[in-house]
């Protein structure tokens, strides 16, 4: 008898403990689930998404939450660390929808993750808005529940190649290097026809292993082939090694451009003065012309973000914040948190945000033009956008010993 009372009271206590500590979300809260890289080799960029998601959720809650129908409801973020492991992230998304019963999904960082994780959102028919995967492969499968706020990977070098045609002396030969993963392969695939159309001669077109640390052989080939412009699609660690080794082998093409790294504060910090002259691209720069319902505009977003997290937000962070806004806006438009209704509302979205106008194509991807940027004296400068120059590029790049 006593034993059964003990057991009952134990169960009651346990149940109370669960409601008190285990489930911070009240019934009316809307839970957004995500799995991002907080540890592991991609943690460096993964944490931008954690910070951006939290930042946007806090801001929307501070403004009273999301107005669904007649009630105002708060957003709650349920975040897992996928340890930079694709398989683990798939399991975590499955857990988010099947056990944690989150309402809607936010994406992971990087195309290979989004590629795998979007299968989960599709299977369970829970919409996922992701701001970390740009590969065209993610959106080529006619999935209905995945939406992406990064510009298509195949377009990453489009504005850069437009710019090449307007530089003087005009570069004639190009070397294209890319890592062997979903994003970078998509970049290379999209870049080749653009190079051909622009009449540039591709002297090197080489795929390398992700996480490669030695670029000496490739750099020697670039030097030997005398490529004027070098376009590299890869990861930040590889780009750092590439630039450092280019310097130590005195390889200085007229220009080089990288898909990642250049917009990040971290990149400039690691390379110091050697980061100068590097071209890159970004679909987002904090501009007062990007008005936002919650943050005012992109400049205010960037200022508040830096004050809170201690580093400048780049397009990853802006894209992540825009994902939260897209879900919030879609729920308000739908007047419901029903996944199906929210999904249809996301597909119809068209609203201005700190990141740009959020509107998705038929495939579910956003369409944003890339602005060419360059590191000049430790600052990121917008060089070329749309059809013309914004600022004067530092071109051609001088020899390393003449800097």
């Amino acid at each position: 008898m006593a034993c059964s009372i003990l057991r009952t009271s134990g169960a009651v206590f346990f149940a109370t403990a669960v409601t008190l500590f285990g489930a911070p979300a009240f019934a009316q809260d809307i839970v957004l689930g995500a799995s991002v890289q907080l540890t592991g080799p991609v943690a460096n960029t993964g944490r931008y998404y954690k910070d951006a998601y939290e930042f946007a959720v806090d801001k929307i809650n501070a403004a009273g939450g999301v107005k669904v129908g007649d009630t105002r409801r708060k957003l709650v973020l349920k975040l897992y660390d996928n340890q930079s492991d694709v398989n683990l992230s798939v399991r975590q998304y499955t857990q988010l929808v099947s056990q944690d019963k989150v309402n809607l999904l936010l994406g992971p960082f990087a195309s290979n993750f989004a590629l795998a994780d979007s299968a989960v959102s599709e299977k369970y028919q829970i919409p996922m808005v992701e701001g970390g995967g740009a590969s065209d492969q993610i959106f080529a499968r006619k999935f209905k529940y995945i939406f992406g706020t990064l510009a298509p990977a195949s377009d990453y070098f489009a504005s850069t190649i437009d710019m090449l045609k307007q530089l003087s002396p005009e570069p004639k030969t190009v070397a294209l290097l890319y890592a062997d993963d979903a994003f970078d392969v998509s970049v290379a695939k999209g870049t080749r026809p653009l190079l051909e159309k622009a009449g540039l001669k591709t002297v090197i077109d080489e795929r390398y292993t992700s996480n490669a640390s030695d670029f000496n052989s490739l750099l020697s080939q670039i030097k030997s082939a005398d490529a004027d412009a070098v376009l590299v699609a890869g990861h930040e660690t590889e780009i750092l090694n590439f630039v450092r080794q280019a310097k130590s082998l005195a390889v200085a093409p007229k220009m080089y451009s990288f898909t990642v790294g250049v917009p990040s504060a971290d990149f400039r910090k690691a390379l110091g003065k050697d980061a100068d002259y590097a071209f890159g691209m970004t679909a987002w720069l904090p501009s007062a012309s990007l008005k936002d319902r919650w943050f005012g505009d992109a400049v205010q977003f960037a200022t508040a973000y830096k004050a809170k997290y201690g580093y400048d937000p780049d397009y990853h962070a802006a894209s992540g914040a825009a994902d939260v806004e897209a879900l919030a806006q879609a729920m308000e438009n739908a007047g419901s948190v029903d996944p199906q209704k929210v999904r249809d509302a996301i597909a119809k979205l068209n609203f201005p945000s700190l990141y740009g106008t959020i509107a998705f194509t038929e495939d579910g991807q956003i369409n944003l033009a890339q602005t060419v940027i360059q590191v000049q004296a430790d600052k990121v400068v917008a060089i070329f956008g749309g059809k013309g120059f914004v600022e004067k590029p530092k071109y051609p790049m001088p020899a390393w010993n003449a800097r």
Binding site: S84, S217, L218, Q221, K223, R244
Partner: protein, 287 residues
């Protein structure tokens, strides 16, 4: 022709760096029969140590190298005394488990302490190079190569000609006989492991100067060191130098002639070949 010569230079210099990274792993493996899966993590710690010395105290990485090596030696000595001596006679599986655990712990502690940001040790001369006609020799890599040769030959001479070195070799060959001659194995194991970790620390200084540092570089470095040790053989530090050079040159030539995605295929292919043809390594004693 210039391209081939340049790529060969790159390969040889890369091989020197490989050798110094693998030296400690091979020593510990050969003497203690511990395959230290945390070896790469110790290289990473050494690199961070050198980075802090350079960034906050302005100590040049090549001058900071002995200091880093000494600090890492102490870390290694204490780890062996406090932890690894418990399992040194256990089956190899246990030592694999414990060093793997150590790798995970060190990696995540490093992320907590240093964040996942990338770092580089970037003294002003790090990017300089020496021009030999059309060929270019990167200065930092050349210096790293020099250090690698000095360390390898130093460890070799130490094992051959000092009392301590002879005691280490004696213990590796026959523990019972060595004890009969008054060798205290616990201390000796700790010294050996300390030297191994000290060498990893030294390698970290060099690696940070020519590449980049983040908490996750360890695992791939361990795999590479493992391959080099097998290729070169565990008997002799000079074997590790040969193993490193062979691997560096083969990888560079593979990238040039076959393709940049095949570097790892080539290096682990060579590993398999060596295991088939000369299981005790290129410079190992034939069984």
């Amino acid at each position: 022709m210039d391209l081939l010569a340049q790529v060969l230079i790159n390969g040889v210099l890369l091989g020197g760096l490989y050798a110094v990274m693998a030296l400690g792993l091979a020593l510990v493996w050969g003497v203690l029969n511990i395959v230290n899966l945390a070896h790469g993590a110790f290289i990473m710690l050494g690199a961070y140590l050198a980075w802090h010395l350079y960034t906050y105290l302005g100590i040049d990485p090549f001058l900071g190298l002995p200091l880093t090596a000494i600090v890492m030696f102490c870390v290694g000595y204490m780890l062996q005394r406090g932890l690894l001596n418990l399992v040194v006679r256990a089956p190899m599986f246990n030592t694999l488990l414990i060093t793997f655990g150590l790798e995970v712990v060190l990696t995540y502690l490093a992320q907590l302490a240093f964040s996942a940001d990338f770092r580089t040790i970037n003294p002003p001369y790090a990017g300089n190079s020496i021009a030999l006609g059309p060929l270019v020799v990167p200065l930092a890599r050349l210096m790293a190569f020099g250090v690698a040769v000095v360390l390898t030959v130093g460890v070799w001479l130490f094992l051959l000609h000092t009392k301590l070195g002879r005691a280490i070799r004696a213990t590796a060959q026959n523990l019972v006989a060595a004890r009969l001659y008054g060798v205290e194995p616990r201390h000796l194991y700790a010294v050996t492991f300390g030297i191994g970790i000290g060498l990893a620390g030294a390698a970290g200084c060099l690696y940070g100067t020519v590449s980049q540092i983040n908490p996750y570089i360890g695992a791939t470095l361990t795999a590479k060191c493992f391959a080099i040790s097998i290729i070169g053989g565990l008997d002799n530090p000079l074997g590790v130098l040969v193993g490193g050079l062979v691997l560096g040159v083969i990888e560079s030539l593979t990238v040039l002639y076959i393709g940049a995605t095949f570097g790892d295929v080539a290096s682990f292919g060579v590993l398999v070949l060596v295991l088939i043809v000369r299981p005790s390594g290129l410079l190992g004693k034939t069984a």
